[in-house]
Amino acid sequence: MKEKKISLAHGNGGVYMRELIDDIFASKLHNDFLNTEHDAAHLKLNNSDWAMTTDGFTVQPLFFPGGNIGSLAIHGTVNDLAVSGAKAKYLSLNAFLEEGLDITDLEIIVSSMAIAAKEAQIDIVTGDTKVLPFGHGGGIYFATTGIGERLKNLRLNHSNIQPGDKILVSGPIGNHGIAVMMAREAFGLSSDITSDSANIYPFVECLNALNTPEKIKCLRDPTRGGLNMLVQDWSRNTKLGVMLKEDQLPIEPAVASVCNMLGYDPFNLACEGRVLAAVSPELAQDVLQLWRELECGEQASCVGEFTCEHKQVVMETSIGGQRILQALEDEPLPRIC
């Protein structure tokens, strides 16, 4: 790593974070199961296939429109397993509580967690709590580990991706990023944008039901770093280029207008309830049709495709122009006008 100190940019899902993981963690901890390009490890236990993931949650503020850190922790863990082609079964939970935290807030958060867990049909089977002195934590941090059974008809790996494969997104992007940002700092704006935080397993389950493992290449959930970072990862790992179509990116008008005012690109913002799929072109319409019948899937869209004509992520703009997208480097900051 070039940097001497950890900065916030090491946590934003972009280039810095990739360097942090590759240069420090992966290089020292490598083993046969650790693959830092995947959201979960694949394990064989008692002759059945399992996936295991872990995640940490430090969102500020603890409550935001559409959810709170509790529901987010469940969704985040379940979703990492889902895009690894597994149905979450059991979770562990570590809660780091800061001295002075309001017990009522904690109760509300854990109740939301219980509701999210029930809805995702998982059990939180073990846990631990620690209390940190005042000023040493943002109220609550959660760390979770989840294991889930792998679905039989999905064999997901970015190495399966071919030129011509389509990229599908299950719903509008950027809502979570903007909802949290506005809950944190109102910027003198008001809106009714809510987070998209949700369990995305139904979107994966219906792909499994298609029983076409060779045509569903890879799934990811565009959390930190947004859709752009994920597509950049795919492009880098497959050594293929990606053509995105601006017209086809589902973005709610309110999200677009806040992004416009603050100088953010919606495709760099986190989602917590969306899936991105790379699929064979002949399967794209079938998948979209299935997704559009699901709750929150009405705006599912084919946003682009892989190409061997170049190795960059290029967006065709609404007017037919081209714009090369770069991997996010530093933390986005609101701009002045």
Partner: protein, 378 residues
């Protein structure tokens, strides 16, 4: 009428014998142009040139140094617009005053100074009301569009409604004097048409830009921020050239009126006088800077913390850019961003050397994030 309509109209124009350079003034315009990929759909003869429209890029080092010093040495909370936080100061002068590793407000924040990013004056007032025992210093760099709401908040001082725990460090600039300076500058690229800034004109009125057509015989159009309005403006300036009638056209009439926003103008007038002011790397431009009026001395952070001024002004008497950095030439339309030798090499958003690579309004940053390179202005 939509963007496609104006694009077709532009394509139907006859190709001029030489490249037709259209200057835009506003960082927001450059951003819209680049994000929509307009350069890739416009005919080759039409070249869009970014200009001086980034207030962060032209904020003098001395102003930033004063903000950093106050934040580090005084018991205050310093509030600044987000993109100001990362602007680096490169002058070795700063090292005489502060620890060596501190080159930006962000470094000062990491070293423990209470510095917070804000996006609007409303936020500043809300923070001051919520934290009555904290002294806030609002460091506001910006053009007319930013200075108008800052002035609106500041003018509450006269009615007694401004919280007593706010003072102001102002680095406000007017845009038209910089454009005049650029048009008079022999090193700047030959400009054949001007796209005047839509937001500034909304506040200050369309007629502020009349001088470009009158005094410089330069086709001018005020544009909004969508592709439709921008393409219409490009068409207008080229068409004016074809018919040899340079004038001022308003392609953003739903927001821009000839007289502008009178209330905002009078609030600006009430709070600020206009003086010659320094632009980073460019030098002093006549009648281009906003300065707090004497009636507002009580909330003027420059006076409140005047003890640091002499030392800083002496240290930064010669405003300096980093070695080989050509931000000032980009701002003055002497070169395009990727003609700077540092662009995309040692100067990247993650380690910006020059201010134009920091702000989302800065031409280098905008170009880099759209992967633009390989162009030439002259």
């Amino acid at each position: 009428m939509n963007a496609r309509y104006w694009l077709d109209k532009i394509n139907s124009l006859s190709k001029p014998p030489q490249t037709f350079n259209v200057l835009n003034v506003c960082g927001g315009h450059e951003r819209s142009i680049t994000q929509a990929g307009l350069r890739s759909v416009l005919p080759q003869w039409l070249r869009l040139v970014p200009g001086p429209g980034c207030p962060v890029c032209v904020c003098p080092e001395a102003d930033i140094a004063l903000a950093i010093t106050i934040a580090l040495k005084e018991t205050v909370s310093l509030l600044a617009f987000g993109d100001m936080l990362r602007v680096p100061i490169n002058s070795a002068a700063l090292h005489k005053l502060l620890p060596k590793h501190i080159r930006s407000l962000e470094n000062a924040k990491a070293a423990g100074a209470d510095i917070r990013p804000v996006a609007s004056p409303l936020e500043v007032k809300a923070l001051a009301l919520e934290n009555p025992h904290t002294q806030f210093v609002f460091f506001a760099a910006g053009f007319e569009t930013t200075m108008a709401p800052v002035a609106a908040m500041m003018s509450e001082f006269f009615s007694g409604n401004l919280p007593g725990n706010i003072s102001f460090l102002i680095s406000g600039r007017k845009t038209w004097p910089a454009v005049k300076h650029l048009l008079d500058d022999e090193q700047s690229a030959p400009i054949h048409g001007l796209i005047a800034p839509g937001h500034v004109a909304t506040i200050m009125g369309a007629k502020e830009w009349q001088f470009v057509a009158n005094d410089y015989q330069l086709p001018t159009a005020i544009a909004g921020f969508d592709s439709e309005s921008l393409l219409q403006a490009f068409y207008c300036v080229r068409y004016q050239t074809e018919i040899k009638k340079p004038t001022l056209q308003n392609c953003y009439p739903r927001a821009v009126k000839p007289e502008g926003n009178k209330l905002a103008q009078s609030t600006l007038e009430q709070c600020f006088s206009v003086n010659d002011a320094n632009w980073r790397g460019i030098g002093s431009i006549e009648q281009s800077g906003y300065q707090l009026r004497a009636e507002l001395n009580n909330v003027n952070a420059q006076l409140k913390f005047a003890g640091y001024l002499d030392e800083i002004n002496e240290a930064f008497a010669r405003d300096s850019m980093p070695k080989s950095c050509r931000c000032a030439d980009v701002v003055m339309a002497r070169i395009l961003p990727d003609q700077c030798a540092l662009y995309g090499k040692s100067c990247l958003p993650r380690q910006a050397l020059g201010p134009c690579m920091v702000s989302d309004e800065g031409a280098c940053r905008i170009w880099w994030s759209a992967g633009l390179k390989g162009s030439s202005l002259q």
